[in-house]
Chain length 372, copies 2
């Protein structure tokens, strides 16, 4: 293990960026000067930035630096796809304290690179600095799209079909499982420590010896993730749905409005409706949900539809298309038509399986609220 | 004072961005969607990103949120000028804990806007989230320049003149003063607390009453900044030298290499020399130093040249020009010619006032080192 201070800032940058290969002609100059230099003579430039804070957006007790790097990159890449664009460059800033080693940073960069190489994205710059407290990550992603293809949130029209890629609620259920196993782990540790304290109080040497032998077993706690791999992957290693964007282009479909689902379906739908000045009607029975999500919601005694509507971080695409595209969409795999756009005064409604109607509530995942 | 959680994430974004006016034609779409949309058909796009962490890059005991917002924006704007570009857009991410109020965020945004409006820059997006610990800020600045005007660090040639704008070492001396007054303040607090504890131990009610009356005076500590205003301003509210870039363009001078001085003159010079594969010779007597910097270095018993060579955060421009531009540079105010570029094998040398030569050392300000 190598201390970061040993390399110094510039030694570190050299190490992290030395074998980066530039893949895009729009990247004129990458890491190594005051700025990166890009070239976009024919397209619009898309740019998005997100900050991820330890203890708020991620928990290093259940993710590792490689996976974290992958996710940090992917969630930003997802924002470029959500505009119907093509991601091209990534800039990463990371602030980390003394408890992190050079190897941790290597792993983080490896994860980021894995995500970037999946979509041919160049890492063109950033900043590595120290933090007195937790780990902080800020990623900026740059992409491009021809002006006529850019899809905003405000273009949905009455009668448009509402579509969703993949399935929803899985990332949220993954988080529940991680939180549960973390709680189990800490309660076993607490339990062990309590027994040690009791044995010490009673000067029970035999008991203490036995406890010392158990210690490793307690530390080596194996969380119970059997059969939940899909949910954990959805939470820890989400995929940006560039494949869906490609399929829509191949099918010659231009969505009228689009965004990625980071805060939950309800919340995102309400954004599209507010910005497009329209209403919507979504059918509970059409919301795509994976089998594992359903089983796990049952185990946790949670309402499945609520999980699918309000669970965040799926990074699936939510978009609207003209009703005439109905057949074309049907022929593309992995997209579900979940409802349609209405006049604004009809509100944003969920039609339940038993044909009741409820107004959608934005209970989207909001880190600011979680801090209360 | 308003709690941030009261507004919610989107209420907050609305409040912070509602009266933003777009000024640049390159800004097609600002805040409000998954990405900002920019348009640069004729220029190269410059992009730079910096992260500022509480306790590492700033200390809220001696800066306020307005000033911090101003500086955070300015240091990024400076990187665009350092490429000989024109800054156009700014994206800001900020993570802050519960101790901050909506009014704090307002002040931060006001400071950023003040910096942006000075250079006609649009705020086009960002991210506001929470932090469990300190304040974290990440700023991305986008700018443009015609391809032929972009100035990298690697273009310096033998015989080129080395030039510096403004004066050096002032921001560093400003920091020394702030640190000194902070230490005085805390020692008075410690002193007061010690007296209270003693009086309590002796149950000396008269003494305790007298101490209670002194309390406000101790809390209202007024730091001694008389005559140091310039140094404090240089540290807390630096200016990006876009005026110098404009003057160079008017005089038809294109620097061969350029960067801004954030880590200290020595360190930056060595970057230019390394990347340009050359050496340099810099004259101690030509390094521009303000009178207040000199007086304060004397008071602190510090070597003035060391402060000017290694003190960071001046955000002045360091650049090289062909020797034929000597007269043109002379006619521009506020630029000093401090030396010249040599062959690589001659090294990076400082020529002292008494004509000795020393190799330059990069002891630049490096937050990673400070963490050791």
């Amino acid at each position: 293990m190598t201390e970061i201070s040993k390399l110094g800032e510039f030694g570190l940058i050299d190490r992290l960026t030395k074998d980066i290969q530039i893949k895009n002609t729009s990247t004129q100059y990458g890491v190594g000067d005051d700025c990166a230099v890009l070239n976009y003579p024919k397209s619009e430039v898309l740019i998005t930035s997100d900050m991820l804070m330890e203890g708020i957006h991620f928990d290093l007790t259940y993710t590792d630096m490689h996976t974290l790097g992958y996710k940090a990159a992917m969630v930003n890449i997802s924002d470029i796809f959500a505009m119907n664009g093509t991601p091209r460059q990534l800039i990463v800033s990371i602030a980390l304290g003394k408890r992190f080693t050079v190897e941790d940073l290597d792993a983080f960069y490896m994860g980021m690179r894995e995500a970037c190489s999946k979509w041919n994205i160049d890492i063109v710059g950033g900043d590595t600095t120290s933090s007195r407290t937790g780990l902080a990550i800020s990623i900026t992603c740059v992409g491009e799209a021809p002006k006529e293809l850019i899809t905003y949130r405000n273009g949905a029209k009455e009668t448009d079909l509402i579509c969703v890629s993949g399935d929803l609620g899985a990332a949220y259920m993954g988080l529940q499982i991680l939180e549960r196993e973390k709680a189990v782990y800490y309660s076993q540790i607490d339990d062990y420590n309590k027994k040690v304290r009791e044995a010490q109080a009673h000067k029970d040497e035999a008991k203490l010896k036995a406890l010392r032998e158990q210690r490793q077993t307690v530390e080596d706690f194996q969380p119970d993730f059997a059969g939940k791999e899909y949910l954990l992957d959805r939470q820890l290693k989400p995929e940006a749905r560039g494949d869906i964007i490609e399929k829509l282009r191949e099918a010659n479909i231009k969505p009228t409005a689009m965004m990625d689902i980071s805060d939950g379906l309800s919340s995102e739908l309400m954004h599209i409706c507010k910005q497009s000045q329209c209403g919507c009607r979504v059918y509970e029975k059409e919301i795509p949900i994976d089998y594992q999500t359903a089983v796990t919601a049952e185990q946790f005694n949670m309402n499945l539809t609520t999980c699918a509507l309000n669970g965040g971080e799926d990074y699936e695409l939510l978009f609207t298309v003209p009703i005439g595209d109905h057949e074309k969409i049907k022929n593309i795999g992995g997209i579900r038509q979940i409802g349609y756009i209405t006049k604004e005064n009809l509100g944003c409604m969920l039609v339940t399986r038993d044909n009741n109607e409820f107004e959608l509530q934005a209970q989207g995942w909001n880190p600011l609220r979680d801090e209360k």
